[in-house]
Symmetry: C2
């Protein structure tokens, strides 16, 4: 296998890229060697060396503790529990949450053989013995996500912290006609008084 | 911008990857640092250093002349003229062409200001003064591709080589009902006697 084929083979292992789009991406980079290919090679090398897992919350960052955990302006009394780092990043992009996070690293799943000890749950319970007053569960609305949320509620009960979860309902800008029944039912049940 | 953001920014410049899929790809790699991120960084660096443009046909390869041009088993009397290296690769994957190639590097386009001198056409005319007996035009069936094909036919006329083009018609496995009118008309006009 020559160097080009090796690049294509590795690119095709990225999510969202098949063999055809990996070839297109490789050609695109070869035609932009100085401006894209070499910088990307260097950036991947740098990132691979610099990225650490935050020992406090499980976030990925170039520092440990991560930027969120070490930021004194963030409210350490509220923790938002997410499944994956991608979820944390999604919440950070909204810039509307000023507390801190806890990344589980997955969800409970009997089929995949993921038990509580495989997730970052004990550390969460430990954190809740300190200054934490509220835990917001932001696991996904899947069977596994909800199972995990219920398990965490049980584990956190003795600590006495308040446990909340994200509101579920109609997405902003969403059209009722295109929504699934589950979301619509949840939105109905969680209806709020106006004014 | 930290190392993670830099990777995401560069990845999002690849064709087919937007900001969201670039983030997903970056996280995917960070979770597979040893098996994917570091090898890809190395492969990109190696490829960036090793890849050359073939001085004969314009193909991209780690050798100049490229593997096709230097392969004595390939028929040097037939040249297939393609717009881009990607087209050459597509034809090579079929393994049904045993001649050599000539990559134009684009098509004539008044709108984009691409003239004959911007394409690899003079070198093609020069090659046709040697052992070449047939030139297969495999430019795309776009206005620009066809304009370029006609221009090449004129330029090659004095050399006396036979000029052919790829057959146009119904794709193998294609259903008539889903074909565009142009392809269907071309397939009708180019109908062949059975048996």
């Amino acid at each position: 296998m020559n160097e080009i084929e090796r690049v294509i083979q590795l690119l095709s292992r990225l999510p969202g890229l098949g063999p055809r789009s990996a070839r297109r991406a490789a050609l695109h980079m070869i035609n932009r060697r100085e401006s894209l290919m070499q910088p990307l090679a260097q950036a991947l090398k740098d990132a691979g060396e610099a990225i650490k897992i935050c020992g406090t919350c499980g976030n990925l960052d170039t520092a440990d503790p991560c930027g969120v955990c070490s930021n004194p302006a963030r409210d350490g009394t509220i923790l938002c529990v997410v499944e994956q780092v991608a979820d944390l990043w999604a919440l950070e992009r909204t810039a509307s949450f000023k507390g801190r996070y806890h990344v589980l690293g997955g969800v409970l799943s009997a089929i995949d053989g993921v038990g509580p000890e495989d997730l970052n749950i004990s550390a969460l319970v430990e954190r809740c013995s300190g200054e934490v007053k509220e835990v917001i569960l932001a696991t996904n609305l899947t069977v596994e996500g909800q199972t995990t949320a219920h398990y965490i509620i049980e584990r956190l009960e003795p600590t006495g912290v308040a446990v909340t979860r994200l509101a579920h309902g109609v997405p902003v800008g969403g059209e009722l006609d295109y929504l699934d029944d589950g979301t619509l039912s949840a939105a109905l049940q969680a209806r709020r008084a106006l004014g």
